[in-house]
């Protein structure tokens, strides 16, 4: 129910963003988000973009995953 799907914004018109998931396009409302721009990754939930995905934080999380998995060797 609280399912969220990462999607890339390819068009923004008024309160509607067209987003791409894999090769499928969806229209999603941007009523719940400020400043959605083409190229952003957003999290889609029940027809709404509810948050933008932060690429630097994603990279940092990946780094943490690897950091803890390397701890063994320390």
């Amino acid at each position: 129910m609280c399912l969220g799907v990462p999607a890339r914004v390819i068009r923004v018109e008024g309160n509607v963003a067209t987003v791409n998931i894999g090769s499928v396009e969806y229209e999603s409302s941007t009523l719940l988000l400020n400043d959605v721009a083409v190229g952003d990754y957003v999290l889609l939930h029940a027809g709404f973009a509810i948050e933008k995905i932060d690429p630097e934080e994603a990279a940092e999380t990946m780094r943490l995953f690897n950091e803890i998995s390397n701890l063994e060797e320390e």
């Binding site: 129910m1 609280c2 029940a46 509810i50 995905i53 994603a58 995953f65 701890l71």
Partner: protein, 364 residues
């Protein structure tokens, strides 16, 4: 450095990564602990990916009350059924809800008889149905937590702006903190919470402070991919082994400390906390979201007069105990033979994220 071509899905499912995090958990875990995955989405991800096989025997996972379809009371279903019987009413709802048995019938059976019930993906689809059917009254059955409530609120504001006065919301929306605090104060031993990532995306971290500060439980806000969940378990084990309880965030690519301020403002503009009934927990004070008086014109509970009788849960169904972590689906006498996805007795077997449905699908 941002990885080239990151898609935010596959990278977090990498099996070598998952195995490594799993080994780390094994190295630091000593105490026998119970962790509750609050969100039905987490329950689904854990069993679909077989993540329990990656955990040491010291760690026990309990499913929580974070499946909106499951915790919606039977009375809510009965209320919706009665609204659907009013001539000229179109009911719109998210898919799973229509199969939940009410005390006499379900929305699905009502639809087969004569009720006009539409399954929608978004509340905005319900608003569109109202826009296109001005001689009908369209009632959207709003279920879901803080993740979903802002979208219902946005629809009401949009209906007001566009003067769509045949659109109504039956709000069964709920908020997470009072339910989690009720569980923390209860008699099930829960050492830490894998906190719901998408609820937190809206609310931010603050809602969990009481769990760590007052109840001394670990809290980690978690993403939904396998590596996210195991990393969150690792962070919880670290907290519990050290006795240093705090609210941590594993899902930083989505969840900000302050949450989504715009969504919160829209939610708080339309809704006010009210007592609500949860399957399994009973009435939890101020755990629901009622529509403010200012927007009463859109409030289906006020605009339609129906008498919803009291009802008893189905005989033998232990859905309530499962939603509070007291029992597992396999503890239920009805599980599988009597109650299964084709013939669900309780709500936890209906929803794709319900613990019983998940166990049935992935543990056979």
């Amino acid at each position: 450095m941002i990885p080239e071509g990151m898609r935010y899905i596959d990278e977090f499912r990498d099996s070598a990564l998952v195995s490594n995090i799993s080994r780390k958990i094994g190295l630091i875990s000593e105490k026998q602990i119970n962790l509750m995955e609050v969100c039905g989405g987490h329950t689904m991800a854990i069993h679909k990916n077989g993540l329990t096989d990656f955990l040491p025997e010291t760690i026990h996972l309990l499913s929580g009350p974070g499946c909106p379809v499951c915790v919606s009371s039977q009375q809510c279903i009965d209320h919706a059924i009665l609204l659907g019987r009013i001539p000229g009413v179109i009911l719109a709802t998210y898919g799973d809800l229509i199969r939940v048995p009410g005390s006499q019938t379900s929305l699905e059976k009502e639809k087969a008889r004569y009720a006009d019930i539409r399954i929608v993906y978004s509340v905005l689809d319900a608003l569109e149905i109202a826009r296109l059917n001005r001689n009908h009254r369209v009632v959207f059955i709003g279920i879901g937590f803080e993740t979903t409530a802002p979208s219902s609120a946005a629809a009401i504001l949009q209906a007001g702006k566009d003067r769509i006065n045949n659109f109504f919301l039956l709000s069964s929306h709920k908020i997470m903190p009072p339910a989690l605090e009720t569980l923390a104060a209860g008699d099930t031993q829960i050492d830490g919470f894998i906190a719901p990532g998408h609820v937190s995306a809206i609310t931010g971290y603050g809602i969990y402070n009481k769990l760590s500060e007052v109840y001394h439980r670990g809290v980690v806000i978690s993403g939904f991919e396998p590596a996210d969940i195991l990393q969150s378990v690792f962070m919880l084990v670290k907290q519990i082994e050290s006795g240093h309880f705090q609210v941590e965030n594993e899902y930083t690519r989505i969840v900000k400390p302050e949450g989504n301020s715009r969504a919160l403002a829209i939610m708080n503009e339309v809704f006010v906390p009210a007592d609500a009934e949860w399957r399994g927990l009973g009435i939890v004070p101020l755990s629901g979201l009622a529509i403010k008086e200012k927007y009463a014109a859109f409030d289906a509970s006020k605009r339609f007069t129906v008498k919803v009788p009291d009802s008893l849960p189905p005989a033998g169904c232990i859905c309530g105990e499962i939603l509070t972590g007291k029992s597992k689906p396999t503890d239920c006498n009805l599980f599988s033979a009597t109650c299964n996805p084709l013939n669900p007795v309780g709500a936890c077997m209906v929803s794709a994220e319900g613990a019983c449905s998940v166990f049935y699908k992935f543990m056979k």
